[in-house]
């Protein structure tokens, strides 16, 4: 979930922004180091793709809808730093033109969604993939699920530090909602990656930065 402006206090906003904007510049440095012009349109279109994915609502039984994050999915294709960079831009533009999230809370939202999804997700996946290479699909599902759960825990911590909620009382409803979203995200990531593997496997061999 995206935190709007006004729900985090100054210290949380400052700390998360210092971290996320610092990491954004580190990612840009990493990307530009190996940058070839070919990659810019790819990053741009992937950013538009992530944005579209986050905007489209998918119907769930019972009349509710859910939207996907796609952060882990995109990092599996483009790499952790490119993934973080484009997810950050997508979150920023969402806050700007759609009102999903906030401008000052961009640090917190990108930490919860982009950092956990792209960077943590990618490195954990690589670690487990090397350890148990025959369970790739299972790792994609589990890590996709866990990135959402980690993001929701960070969200709870940020709101608790800002004095807006009680951690113990909010833990269950937030974890419950994100467990459902995590399972959906996991199924989505596994299905979409295996679809790419089947239809256009060269996309998965794109340089990962």
């Amino acid at each position: 979930m995206h935190i709007p402006d006004g729900f985090l206090d100054l210290k949380t906003v400052s700390a998360t922004n210092v971290f996320s904007i610092g990491f954004l510049f580190y990612s840009i440095k990493k990307i530009t180091k190996k940058l070839n012009p070919e990659r810019i349109p790819l990053l741009g279109l992937s950013c538009a793709f992530i944005f579209t994915l986050e905007v489209i609502s998918f119907p769930l039984p019972g009349g509710t809808t859910v939207h996907l994050s796609g952060a882990f999915f995109i990092s599996l294709i483009l790499g952790p730093f490119s993934g973080f960079f484009i997810t950050f831009i997508s979150l920023f533009v969402q806050a700007l033109i759609l009102g999903h999230g906030g401008i000052l809370t961009i640090g917190a939202n990108s930490l919860n969604i982009a950092f956990t999804g792209c960077v943590m997700g990618y490195y954990f996946y690589k670690f487990f993939e090397e350890l148990f290479p025959s369970f790739k699909t299972m790792w994609i599902f589990i890590i996709s699920f866990l990135t959402l759960i980690t993001g929701s825990l960070l969200l709870l911590i940020e709101l608790t530090i800002s004095g807006k909620i009680l951690f113990s009382k909010s833990l269950f409803p937030v974890l419950f909602a994100h467990t459902i979203a995590g399972i959906i995200e996991g199924i989505f990531t596994v299905s979409a990656i295996s679809f790419l593997q089947r239809v256009k496997p060269e996309i998965l061999k794109t340089q990962k930065i």
Partner: protein, 200 residues
């Protein structure tokens, strides 16, 4: 599909439309910071609400249209409300956060509604490492509406063939959309190079 381009009002002649983009960015950040740190007393919020109305009037933005746009945050606020009420004094905390959120989003929307996206992209280009951010930002704004339309077309085609899309089908549609984005990026690159584009 019909899209609402948020910078439509940027082409009107109004007060905020005339202000330089860089100055507006600084003003926006300062206002958001002020809203963030103001104490929880109703009196402190009134000047910000008046300022929002003044900006709306002098920038010639219809109030109803503006209201419809800011209503978008209410579902998020509802979730945060359901979490806040468990806390002691939770309702009061939520109401002030809600007020802060509403004023902040009003300022953000006032900013984007009165700023041309091209001007914003030009401004971003001047920031440190701005060339990459500005390029990606421009790509996003250029292709997002297109990809959304493409997704809707694919979904409609699936439904017209008698298949009601389930989660797995949505994943396939998204995978297909990514392939189309990937292939489009290759065509766009060729078009950019043929027009003399070079990386700065």
């Amino acid at each position: 599909m019909k899209h609402h381009f948020i910078d439509d009002f940027a082409y009107k002649k109004g007060f905020l439309q005339r202000v330089d983009t860089g100055l507006k960015v600084i003003l926006l950040i300062l206002l958001l910071l002020c809203v963030l740190v103001i104490p929880e007393k109703v009196l402190f919020y009134i000047p910000f609400i008046i300022l929002t109305f003044l900006f709306l009037i002098f920038s010639k933005i219809p109030f109803i249209y503006f209201l419809k746009r800011i209503l978008i945050i209410f579902p998020f606020l509802l979730v945060l409300f359901s979490l806040s009420i468990f806390k002691e004094n939770g309702l009061r905390i939520f109401l002030f956060s809600f007020l802060k959120s509403l004023i902040s989003i009003s300022f953000v929307f006032l900013f984007v509604m009165t700023t041309k996206m091209t001007a914003l992209s030009e401004f971003i280009k001047k920031l440190p490492a701005g060339f990459l951010i500005s390029d990606i930002f421009s790509f996003l704004y250029r292709y997002f509406f297109l990809l959304q339309d493409e997704f809707e077309k694919m979904k409609r085609a699936m439904i017209s063939k008698g298949k009601n899309p389930k989660l797995k089908d949505y994943a396939l549609l998204s995978g297909n959309l990514f392939i189309r984005s990937y292939e489009r990026s290759e065509r766009v690159l060729k078009a950019m190079i043929s027009r003399g584009w070079k990386i700065k």
